[in-house]
């Protein structure tokens, strides 16, 4: 025991002297579901993280320090998310925590991270509105997805919308965004149905939709069970155009279901595997070389990959892994990296990420086509409603009906 203390002491002294040469690794905690109802969507997140860590370590790590990735699989269980987040922070002493798929898991982890000085990066597209200095969001948010998608759907297909949404915060708040935007465009939501996670039978829902006679559907159903909707709707010849913030690029339903189940599905995304710019092609080549069995590189897998490069950039600019130092870098407004989609920057007010957004549609044979390029869209909504993390840490999630008190 005593001998070990001496050795540790010497090693510590040496590392102080040696500096970068004997540097400890930077520990990155990763919470991603790779089993359970969301496992098939979460696996690419783990793979994206592994690819980024391998590339960064090969190129010399972050400020000469290697990244050590500690991945735990919470299996879609929010209680496990909390348990593992606590473990990673207090026992493994990670420098940064990345991950979480559902908004429920993010909201389970966020209060725990708020009590620490450890940065948390959430890498999914989501319903937006989290104003929290301890968190960086690098996925797309409603002003980047719905604000472009819904006006297009109304102009192209008609004013009557029917929403089917997963019954938890993501589905509820996304449906609220839809109501707001549809109303602004002069349309009507003719029906809304919230579905408990894990439900797989949709005969009644299909009939309810036919009764309401909408022009198009907003499908923000979540998970493998709820995705059975597409197959069952196709079998019943529902045949309506659809829009979503999570289909195609996230759930690759067009690869998982036999055509034409996803025919006329429209989505706006910062990443989808069919993106064919030279940078994207190069990225896909590296990914498939490392993971030849990957069915589809989805947007959250891509975001997980970009997140590590964003973290590297932040730490290297801050010359520190401390949250307060990293936030000083974000406050300059120059926290940008060049990602496969193009340059993405972290917005100082909301700590959300700007993205190059494109609209895609699925044809009868399930080919994905880009139909519109919106260019770079800033995550402006939180800033507009009064969230400014450079001045005040709200630690809250806002929605169109729950705005900050002035």
């Amino acid at each position: 025991m005593r001998l070990r203390n001496v050795v540790v002491g010497i090693a510590g002294a040496l590392s102080l002297i040696g500096g970068a040469i004997a540097a400890d690794p930077i520990k990155v905690g990763l919470l991603e579901d790779v089993s359970g109802d969301l496992g098939l969507l979460g696996k690419p997140k783990l793979n994206g993280s592994l690819l980024a860590v391998e590339e960064i370590n090969k190129a010399g790590g972050i400020m000469g320090r290697k990244i050590e990735l500690i991945h735990l699989d919470p299996q879609g269980d929010n209680a496990r998310y909390q348990e593992f987040a606590r473990r990673l922070v207090s026992k493994d002493k990670v420098d940064v925590l990345i991950g979480g798929i559902t908004s429920a898991s993010r909201e389970a982890v966020r209060p725990i991270m708020d009590r620490t000085d450890t940065l948390y990066i959430y890498t999914n597209q989501y319903e937006g509105g989290v104003c929290d200095a301890g968190m960086i969001s690098n996925g797309a948010v409603p002003e980047q997805q719905f604000s472009t998608l819904i006006p297009y759907m109304i102009a192209t297909y008609g004013k009557k919308v029917y929403t089917i949404a997963a019954d938890y915060n993501f589905g509820q708040i996304s449906a609220e965004w839809n109501r707001k935007l549809v109303k602004e465009q002069g349309g009507t939501v003719v029906g809304e149905e919230f579905i408990p996670l894990g439900v797989s039978q949709f005969a009644q829902t299909i009939q309810n939709i036919q009764k309401a006679k909408p022009d198009w559907l907003l499908t923000i159903n979540v998970g493998a069970a709820q995705d059975s909707f597409f197959e069952q709707a196709a079998a019943a010849k529902l045949g309506l155009p659809m829009a979503s913030s999570i289909k195609i690029m996230l759930g690759f339903e067009h690869k998982r279901f036999a055509p034409p189940a996803l025919y006329r599905m429209n989505a706006v995304a910062n990443w989808f595997e069919e993106l064919d710019t030279p940078e994207a092609e190069d990225f896909k080549k590296r990914w498939h070389a490392k993971f030849p069995k990957e069915q589809y590189i989805n947007d959250m897998g891509y975001n997980a990959y970009v997140a590590l490069y964003q973290y590297k950039m932040l730490v290297e600019k801050a010359k520190s892994t401390k949250l307060s130092d990293i936030r000083k870098v974000i406050a300059t407004g120059k926290a940008c990296v060049t990602a496969p989609e193009g340059e993405v920057c972290i917005d100082p007010k909301s700590q959300h990420t700007s993205h190059r957004m494109r609209m895609v549609t699925v044809d009868e044979k399930h080919n994905v086509k880009v139909i519109k390029d919106f260019g770079v869209i800033q995550p402006y909504w939180l800033g507009e409603i009064g969230c400014d993390l450079t001045k005040k840490n709200d630690k809250k999630q806002y929605t169109p009906s729950e705005l900050p008190s002035k």
Binding site: L40, L41, F194, S200, Q204, Q207, N208, A224, E231, A235
Partner: protein
């Protein structure tokens, strides 16, 4: 109006088929044999995976479904002989053992086959009534549910095996004393239960996303139906299926899926409170009382 009535009947048939197909196998294993089979969902998953595997290998859907049912039944016999047989007198241990089996199987499938398998797609065919379009395949599912009830009736009420099986479930030592090969009866009954679970998976495979944990989506409905039904498959599970399907499809139509699910679970709590032994004990008592009054 006609379309509305047909739509309601169709929805009822759809929910009824789901409840009966999901619970038939469990009703035999849990209801009759008293084994709480936590791996029930995995037998369903097995049926679905074998079906899709064979369809992808070029077999016609119906052949694949038949093979999947037989495969699940054979695996069921193996599981009975290897694990469940030693635990008949120890219900909690059998619960734990089958739960462990379920975890091993779902994680094993995840490691071997990955996160999901793409399905063959629902067989085409739809028809229109009024404003609504319906899938023909959902009616086939309903017919299959009726067929399963008929099959259980024939096997357990009209064959020698059925008599032996019921005698064994009632009192195994006496049945054995009378020359019934109890071990074989148990293995076969468990095999039939597993086979029916496999059939459920095989029938729903074209309509669902195939993931290793897909059995879980059937589990709540199957246990609920069996618990409400009670120990007698024919007198219990079928009326339980009808009752729960009426409640659920009615509430689904009125207030959407959440209300449907909540309403069904509340109904289950009330039924268990009033009829702790399930519907079948009530029906059995009513039948024997009416027979007494006749004589």
């Amino acid at each position: 109006m006609l379309a509305e009535i047909f739509s309601f009947l169709y929805q009822f048939a759809d929910v009824f088929a789901f409840l009966i197909l999901a619970s038939a196998g469990l009703a035999i294993v849990f209801g009759m044999m008293g084994v709480i089979n936590m791996a029930h969902g995995e037998f369903i998953m097995c049926g679905a995976y074998v079906t899709v595997g064979l369809v992808n290998a070029g077999f016609p859907l119906i052949v694949a479904q038949a093979c999947a049912t037989i495969a699940a039944a054979l695996i069921g016999v193996l599981v009975e002989v290897a694990i469940v047989r030693k635990l008949y007198k120890r219900p909690l241990d059998s619960l734990l053992a089958t739960w462990g089996l379920s975890l091993i199987v779902t994680q094993g499938m995840l490691l071997i086959f990955g996160g999901s398998m793409s399905g063959p797609g629902t067989p085409p065919g739809s028809f229109t009534v009024g404003d609504y379009t319906f899938s023909v395949y959902r009616l086939i599912l309903f017919a299959a549910a009726i067929g399963v009830i008929g099959f259980i009736y024939l096997v357990f009420m009209r064959t020698k095996f059925g008599v032996y099986a019921r005698a064994t479930m009632q009192n195994a030592p006496i049945a054995q004393a009378l020359g019934v090969r109890v071990g074989r009866i148990y293995a076969l009954s468990f095999g039939i239960g597993a086979g029916l679970a496999g059939l459920c998976g095989a029938l729903y495979a074209p309509t669902m996303t195939l993931i290793p944990t897909m059995g879980a989506t059937f589990i709540v409905e199957s246990f609920v139906t069996v618990v409400v039904g009670g120990s007698n498959v024919l007198l219990g599970t079928t009326p339980a299926g009808v009752l729960l399907a009426v409640i659920r499809s009615g509430l689904n139509a009125w207030g959407g899926q959440i209300i449907g699910q909540i309403g069904m679970l509340i109904a289950v709590i009330l039924i268990i409170r009033i009829l702790p032994e399930g519907i079948s004990s009530y029906v059995a008592r009513w039948l024997s009382a009416s027979e007494k009054s006749k004589s």
